[in-house]
Symmetry: C2
Subunit: 478 residues, 2 copies
Amino acid sequence: MSIEENTPEPDKTERMPLDIERVHALSEALLPVAEQIENNLPVEDETLSAKLVELIAVLHELHPADVAAVLESLPPKERSMVWHLASPEEDGEVLLEVSDAVRETLIESMDKEELLAAVDDLDADELAELAGDLPHQVVYEALQTRDAEERAQVQAAMSYEDDQVGAIMDFELVSIRADVACEVVLRYLRRFESLPDHTDKIFVVDENDVLQGVLPIRKLLVADPDELVENVMATDVVRFRPEDNVEEAAQAFERYDLVTAPVVDADKKLIGRITIDEMVDVIREESEADMLNMAGLQEEEDLFAPIWHSVRNRWVWLAVNLCTAFIASRVIGAFEGSIEKIVALAALMPIVAGIGGNSGNQTITMIVRAMAMGQISGVQARRLLKKEVGVALVNGLIWGTVMGVVSWLLYGSIGIGLVMVAAMTLNLLLAATVGVLIPVMMDKAGRDPALGSSVLITAVTDSGGFLIFLGLATMFLL
Amino acid sequence: MSIEENTPEPDKTERMPLDIERVHALSEALLPVAEQIENNLPVEDETLSAKLVELIAVLHELHPADVAAVLESLPPKERSMVWHLASPEEDGEVLLEVSDAVRETLIESMDKEELLAAVDDLDADELAELAGDLPHQVVYEALQTRDAEERAQVQAAMSYEDDQVGAIMDFELVSIRADVACEVVLRYLRRFESLPDHTDKIFVVDENDVLQGVLPIRKLLVADPDELVENVMATDVVRFRPEDNVEEAAQAFERYDLVTAPVVDADKKLIGRITIDEMVDVIREESEADMLNMAGLQEEEDLFAPIWHSVRNRWVWLAVNLCTAFIASRVIGAFEGSIEKIVALAALMPIVAGIGGNSGNQTITMIVRAMAMGQISGVQARRLLKKEVGVALVNGLIWGTVMGVVSWLLYGSIGIGLVMVAAMTLNLLLAATVGVLIPVMMDKAGRDPALGSSVLITAVTDSGGFLIFLGLATMFLL
């Protein structure tokens, strides 16, 4: 992919939009003079000075989203230096693009005047998005410079939870009446200095602002100029309420290939719109959150967060893991007598536990994914259970037999081999059953089935696996 | 979210777009007469007949993407019945929306005439997308009905890999010359019957089809009608080559908030465009693939796939897991003498291995994610390693001490407690080191760092944990 400036010699100007390696190299080279740079003191060394000029040039050509990506990827000192060098007029946009963790560090490094300047150009919805992370005094003063309508919009947007449509809707939109001709609409649009980003449709409202339909630009452009809007507009409109969940909205955008959609209040009055770029962020964040949760991280973490921050972000899941490992350990402890007599059990038991955990995670991931896509209703759970138990039985018999034969050859005891086959098959059956039941029950209880499900299933298959294997061995081998 | 038809009484018509529970209930109730339905025989039973009428009505009102979601969520017999009942004119769209696994089952159930009818309305790029799954004879006959240009487009699209921009670009686009007035463009557009989906910009080309810039519709609508296109168009255009990677393209769409972007060949000639709806699918599929891979599933699986299909989809990772578990088991086997003497070791060793795996997965997930966002270059690896080792040291000392004290109290031996502290700390340090190195080395080797990284790190921390703990115990406690 390339961004190209159109110049007389277009071949010379094709360039990659962001050469992050170069930025890293430059900022590392400038680290010794970071303090001078941040205090706006001249850099004496000629080589470094040339590098500084290059870095500034690179940064000023970057899109705010690219500046954000650079900042995310830098350790604290270099991040602070690069942030100081980036174009101040883009500060607000950059703050919107970075992750929450990095945003905090950037805002901490700015004084009140810099913050006020940064948020000055932002729309009401963007200011509302940042407001939670800004000092109260800055938010207050920033609001004073806005008119009453904008203040009300900021306050409205701030009153919704992060996962509600109201928190990400924007207020820049174009609306018209149904009883005018398309020609009139075109003339009306020409009076705007610019149209809002992503304008793919114009909203049609009545005299009370109640949404009547939408006029897609695609239709407007090909319509007969004398045709009335009401004959061209679409009326089966996907619309949202500010209380709606953003993930469900994102799914609707994905399913119906939307670019923008209206947000209406309880009286069906048009109050804002949501756009695909926000929805793409929701989809990305949702899948990242699932991934982080599965790996046992509480939230998105600044790559270069201070060690203590990282420790805090990870300790909950480590603690949970220790508790479940401790329970498994006590299960083994209960069979210490058996292990003393047949020490081979100690070596074989992690195999039984491990394959159960792996297989259980396969099942639970499939179910959680299908639930996220809204594909599972109560009727299905029973059938899915039947299928997963079938898969587990086949896998258990195949892999159990493989490991059973291996253990038999290794320890010369057919009894150990048979216990291995039985224990692996039973633990896989346990994994399949619990792998279906955990997310179904979490969903019924109104909880997010992704959260912690991997830890839960591993806990069950570990303790269960040790219990089954050591129990069978104690029964049949001693 | 609601879709609303505009009628005299709008309050009565607001409805949820897809009531999947209802569809599930109806299709389950109709299961006994599924055969009659599929053979178009009348259903005698009056209750069932009423349900059939309701199901058909519901299905015919659904968007093709909703029909696809319903089909994904149904077991084979009901899926086949619902597929038979869905509007045949939407068959092609539905086939495009379902997952690969379900698409196969649907195509298998259709005869040649049905398939030809289904693909008849599709655009060239859509036909190319389905072509890989269709019988050759159907593709051949479908191509015969197209003109030479479309045939060439289908063949061009089919010549690219699934992860290349060329495979998902479409050919429906509007292009103009730079030296005409905006008024002329508006008149030209009006001659179209309809504009392509997602048209947010018009492509500006010279007489050789070389891309000069783009004219955003937003700018066209507010421009002075007499102004020339070349004075209104944007020239710093994000453009792609058909060989570009789709995930990188999706990242650019996300970063620069694009709705469509041009695709050019080596001579900078405009050959197609890519649209945000395809990019959203790429983002979703990418994150799902990561999640499935982390859980040890090879590919997206049909929820109700035959057991044998599921077994095949899961066996590779189960086999890998068994191998790594076997290695860990042999490590324990080497210390059987020590375990015979102090059987408590058998109970405590899974704790050391478990916390290492958990912590290593936290580290590796952070790194893999930062790499996917293009935030890590060579320079960073060393620093990240330093930070992760610091986090591991803190966590190891804290949790190691907790478990050390617990073991001391439990087994009355301060030696066991001290070995526990040391082993947990060392295994966490190992996990941090390997958690940084594995993805960095995989990336340098040109491989996807997400693939199998979770299995690899768990293998290292399991075997390593057993080795460290049992080794220390053998050295100091015997």
